[in-house]
């Protein structure tokens, strides 16, 4: 056991954990941030995607101790001042979910690909979604949402 410290959604956090604790369990069970989901637990499905120093990672395949001192963002940290982020808004508008289980990971991955300018067309978006599974209905509306959000955010930045 040792104390791990990091910044999660802008707030400093610290907890005494076992070295073997995975980041996803740290977020869910120690911090109560259950928006980050455990789907496959084998780094396939992407329901657990969070950002570490701005980069999307699968939190089921990172030990909490590995991100000591880092800035971590989870789905709970995406909306600002009670207003949905444009990517979240686009998922709502385009009905890009059914059960919603994959949605937090989808949104964290979408934010990451837009940040890297890798959401410029539908083919690119589908390639970038390789590590995120939706088992309800397929990806059509998810691609629609990401494309719309990327276009809107590009307009904002210009």
């Amino acid at each position: 056991m040792a104390v791990v410290e990091m910044t999660v959604n802008g707030e400093p956090v610290a907890a005494d954990i076992e070295d073997r604790m995975l980041l996803v369990y740290f977020l869910r069970e120690r911090l109560g941030l259950t928006g980050t989901h455990i789907g496959c637990d084998t780094s396939q499905c992407g329901a657990c995607v969070v950002h570490v120093e701005g980069r999307a990672v699968k939190s089921c395949t990172v030990f909490a101790r590995q991100v000591e001192g880092a800035n971590v963002t989870t789905i709970e940290g995406v909306a600002q001042d009670g207003a949905l982020h444009p990517v979240q808004e686009a998922f709502r508008e385009h009905h890009a979910l059914q059960c919603g289980f994959c949605t937090p990971g989808m949104i964290m991955t979408a934010l990451d690909m837009i940040r890297r300018d890798r959401a410029r067309n539908r083919e690119m978006i589908r390639h970038e979604l390789e590590g995120n599974f939706c088992r309800c209905t397929g990806y059509h509306n998810i691609v629609d949402a990401i494309e719309a959000a990327a276009t809107r955010l590009a307009g904002t930045a210009a």
Binding site: D19, R20, T42, S43, T61, F63, R65, Q66, G131
Partner: protein, 274 residues
């Protein structure tokens, strides 16, 4: 899934990592963990101590040195895919890195971790072998030809850390892989490189470890075109056979992927990634 308990260490330098290794009971390195952590969760690996190399800034660089692209062992796949040194001088390596796993995996996985793991379906082993790379460690330099010795086995000795890999810049290079449709791993991947001295053809996914196909190299050295390979087949003996593909099918795929890799190499050589 919860791995066995272990002690986690994050050294700041290679020297510190080596000292930690010497002092621990059954130590092992962690270099991105995108293969290793899943294996630990299945309790296939249970070291007493995990020494994390990911934070070592001295291993994290990509540079063009003379006629080689030199990549630090700690460079992450996304960095190899996006670096000016690779996209400018060795786009086939950048494209290969971009094809590994998914974006989140590419943000964590490292070149050194992939090579040291020597997964039979790893992509980087085909590039290292196909380009005739030289692998530098804390003890020595190892030619890629002597590095991959078996299933998940390399020439590395206990405690030896890969520091950098030097990839000679070829005149032409291409990589083609046939992915398992479920996992995305290479059922067969072939890396073809043409240099001033000849052609190399390296195969991953088909055998216990990456290997070269001499008959294809000779045929492509005589004439660098996909149809030079038309009459060459490789025997299925000693190739992997599992529920995804028989050895015969993998042998067939080696031919198909080799021809596609040549076509890829013959496309405009400074092909941009996007």
């Amino acid at each position: 899934m919860i791995p066995y308990a272990f002690h986690y260490h994050r050294p700041g330098t290679i020297a510190e990592a080596q000292a930690l290794y010497r002092d621990a009971q059954e130590p092992s390195f962690l270099a991105g963990g995108q293969s290793l952590i899943p294996a630990m969760k299945q309790r296939l690996a249970h070291p007493t101590d995990r020494i994390d190399l990911l934070g070592l800034s001295e291993l994290s660089f990509i540079a063009l040195r003379g006629s080689a692209v030199v990549v630090g062992a700690g460079a992450r796949h996304c960095e190899v895919a996006g670096s000016h040194a690779t996209t400018g001088s060795l786009p086939a390596l950048a494209a290969l890195a971009e094809s590994i796993g998914d974006p989140a995996v590419r943000h964590m996985g490292t070149l050194g971790g992939s090579l040291a793991n020597s997964d039979p379906a790893a992509d980087y082993s085909a590039a290292a072998l196909g380009l005739g790379a030289t692998i530098a460690t804390t003890k020595r330099t190892i030619a890629a030809d002597a590095f991959f010795v078996g299933l998940f086995q390399t020439a590395l000795e206990p405690g030896e850390i890969i520091t950098e890999v030097s990839f000679p810049v070829p005149t032409r290079a291409g990589y083609a892989k046939f992915r398992n449709p479920a996992s995305g791993y290479a059922m067969v991947g072939v890396f073809v490189a043409r240099t001033g001295t000849g052609v190399r053809v390296a195969v991953t996914g088909a055998g216990p470890q990456a290997f070269c196909v001499t008959a294809m190299e000779e045929a492509l050295t005589r004439r660098f075109a996909a149809d030079s390979l038309a009459a060459i087949s490789i025997p299925p003996d000693n190739l992997n056979s599992d529920l995804h593909a028989s050895a015969q099918y993998r042998a067939h795929l080696v031919g198909v992927m080799a021809r596609r890799a040549v076509v890829e190499a013959l496309r405009t050589d400074a092909r941009a990634l996007t």
